[in-house]
């Protein structure tokens, strides 16, 4: 008879047995799995705790405790810790602990603001470059190369010379000169995602480029963006400390960890008054370390290949 009958492989299909849904429900959500991976990295956990402690001290403690970072008291200048001053006083009798706390606000604030700016610029440009490809990609990525070839510290020195040092100048300069890192990563993720079938599928249901970027490509890159963000925060914090130490960043009397360290430029202070420079130095080091550890932990947490 007909060949047609030969090639009919399957019988009229019937609906299969119900799926074991209890099994499906017991699987963890991607978020829960991520938390589990993060908690497995004890350095990241310690880093997270230290980071939270810093943030609470800098941003919440002053709400409950009277701290005056600006009160000059020349009769009690350069006092050792104790006597009502937890970390002693500086050359003009200001409370070092109060300045450390408020300096933390400025330093962490600069780090966060500059990193946020950097990520906003970088992620947007990276996503655009990766999605549109062609000459758009070329122009943006060559611009990134150009920005990467300037040492930001030199740029800030020049800008400080022209406009005078200020917190805002610092934030903008750091943000503008650190975006290429994030844009490269975001572009890389977007380029690999762009040819994935689910992006094609989204296009096949009518999604335009902007829709693809905001709904599919940036969310796919979000995990990497978070990691880069933490590393950028740490980097900006260090830069701020360095620049303020040189007198090119945050302008006194506004305290920041960097310009607290500025006082440690004299040998006398280093030799005989460690309470002036050890606390801000330790604060910077601990903060940068803990932010980096948190970044490492987040990198493990967002890596879906790990269980």
């Amino acid at each position: 008879m007909s060949l047609g009958a030969d090639v009919v492989l399957s019988e009229s299909p019937t609906s299969g047995p119900p799926l074991p849904d209890e099994i499906a429900h017991r699987r963890r959500s991607p978020f829960a799995l991520g938390v589990r991976r993060y908690l497995r990295n004890w350095l990241a956990v310690v880093g997270g705790v230290v980071l939270i402690a810093f943030l609470v001290t800098a941003f919440i403690l002053p709400l409950f405790m009277h701290l005056d970072p600006y009160g000059v008291d020349l009769s009690h200048a350069r006092q050792a810790p104790g006597h009502g001053h937890l970390l002693g006083t500086d050359g003009t009798g200001r409370d070092v602990f109060a300045r450390l706390v408020y300096g933390g606000r400025v330093s962490i604030g600069v780090g966060l603001a500059a990193a946020t700016l950097s990520i906003l610029i970088g992620a947007t440009l990276g996503a655009v470059a990766g999605t549109f490809a062609g000459w758009t990609d070329m122009v943006i990525m060559r611009a990134a190369d150009i920005f990467l070839s300037f040492p930001p510290i030199v740029v800030v020195i020049v800008l400080a010379g022209i406009f005078g040092p200020s917190v805002w100048m610092l934030i903008v300069a750091l943000g503008v000169f650190t975006w290429p890192t994030s844009s490269r990563v975001v572009r890389g993720v977007v380029v690999t995602m762009r040819e994935r079938e689910f992006v094609q599928a989204a296009r096949a249901v009518g999604a335009g480029r902007i829709w693809l970027i905001t709904r599919h490509l940036l969310p796919a890159a979000l995990s990497q963006i978070v990691v880069i963000f933490t590393l950028t925060v740490a980097n900006c914090l260090l830069q701020e400390a360095g620049l303020s130490f040189l007198g090119l960043g945050v302008v006194p009397p506004t305290p920041s960890w960097g310009n607290l360290l500025h006082d440690a430029q004299s040998i006398t202070v280093i030799n005989s008054m460690p309470w002036l420079w050890v606390p801000p130095g330790v604060a910077v080091a601990l903060m940068v370390l803990s932010v980096n550890f948190v970044g490492d932990g987040l990198r493990d947490a967002v890596d879906p290949r790990q269980r």
Binding site: M1, E11, A201, V205, A207
Partner: protein, 333 residues
């Protein structure tokens, strides 16, 4: 009534090694509500021709070099990007081959389905769209659709994912559904369920369906009419019954001979000798000629391209000598 008319569509890819003639002048039509099977081996241009109809072939390197695709009065080859975005998903739904990759792994399944709706109907509320997503999941036979809609793709089995992909494709009641090997990546046991599902979805929406596959069995089960593609060209087209009973192209006949049979107790299968031609070189004659018993030594076959000509009512073959085939396997017809 004709829904889609493809005429002389040609797609090329510019590569480092030269120009690949991926689709080399194909013409076919599909009526409203019809199921059309497109069969051919890997690289025969099945997927590329469908993707180019939707404007989804990456350009560059791909390029539609000629032809037209008339869909309800619009030429999809020349339509604006804006118009194409409206048509995609709204009037033409696409089902992808691999359900493992066709869903965004970090997006809830229900959200992805409702996205297909909100893209085209911006004023639909999020609640209405997700309610519709649940309805669609129920329609495609996903158990506990309310719970399933809030899950991520990795919590779905392969078959369930393909159902979700189908739900996405039919979300806007398209008039044309393109299914690109929708069962190839699935277990054989799940294939039958998904096929059944597809047939139901097709019946539900009344959408004409282009079903791309390299599985002749699937075509026989699902489609009424079938197109056989080879080397970017249509070799033969006609109803499933006539093509399977009495193929009029040696390539189709070879394909059918290479199938295992339940009725004929043969120990060995008969493969088609040779390999598909290199599409980097333009082919002057029939692309199947070097592998063909009829045309191998004939001058006409190697120099002149055989046109797709009618050999019987509704049955076309691109062979110079369609009558020298004696009707498929062992003259079974």
């Amino acid at each position: 009534m004709t829904l889609l008319e493809v005429r002389d569509l040609a797609v090329q890819f510019r590569t480092m090694d030269g120009t690949v003639h991926a689709v080399d002048g194909i013409s076919f039509t599909i009526d409203k509500g019809e199921i059309l099977g497109v069969v051919g081996e890997s690289g025969s241009g099945k997927s590329v021709s469908m993707m180019s109809m939707l404007g989804l072939v990456p350009q560059p390197p791909g390029r539609i070099v000629g032809g037209s695709v008339l869909f309800e009065g619009t030429d999809l080859v020349r339509a604006s990007k804006r118009r194409m975005r409206q048509i995609r998903g709204e009037q033409i739904g696409m089902i992808f081959q691999d359900p493992m990759t066709a869903l965004n792994p970090v997006m809830r399944v229900g959200k992805q389905i409702s996205e297909a709706i909100t893209i085209h109907h911006r004023r639909t509320s999020a609640a209405a769209a997700s309610a519709r997503a649940v309805d669609l999941l129920r329609l495609v036979g996903v158990p506990q659709p309310e719970a399933r809609a809030t899950q991520y793709p990795h919590q779905f089995s392969g078959g369930m994912r393909q159902r979700a992909v189908i739900a996405m494709a039919i979300a806007n009641n398209p008039t044309l559904l393109i299914a690109d090997e929708p069962t190839t990546a699935l277990d054989v046991t799940i294939q039958a369920q998904v096929l059944d599902m597809l047939r139901r979805a097709q019946a539900e929406t009344g959408a004409a369906t282009i079903f791309i596959t390299h599985d002749l069995g699937v075509v026989a089960e699902l489609a009424r009419r079938v197109i056989v593609m080879y080397a970017g060209r249509i070799m033969e087209s006609g109803t499933v019954r006539t093509i399977f009973n009495r193929p009029r192209h040696p390539y189709t006949a070879g394909l059918l001979k290479s199938l295992p049979s339940l009725k004929h107790d043969s120990q060995t299968l008969t493969p088609i000798p040779g390999n598909p031609p290199n599409l980097l070189r333009p082919i002057a004659g029939c692309p199947f000629q070097p592998r063909c018993d009829i045309g191998r030594d004939r001058e006409l076959c190697s120099t002149t391209r055989p046109p797709l000509a009618e050999v019987a009512p509704g049955h076309d073959s691109a062979c110079h000598y369609p009558d020298e085939l004696d009707g498929g396997r062992e003259g079974a017809a």
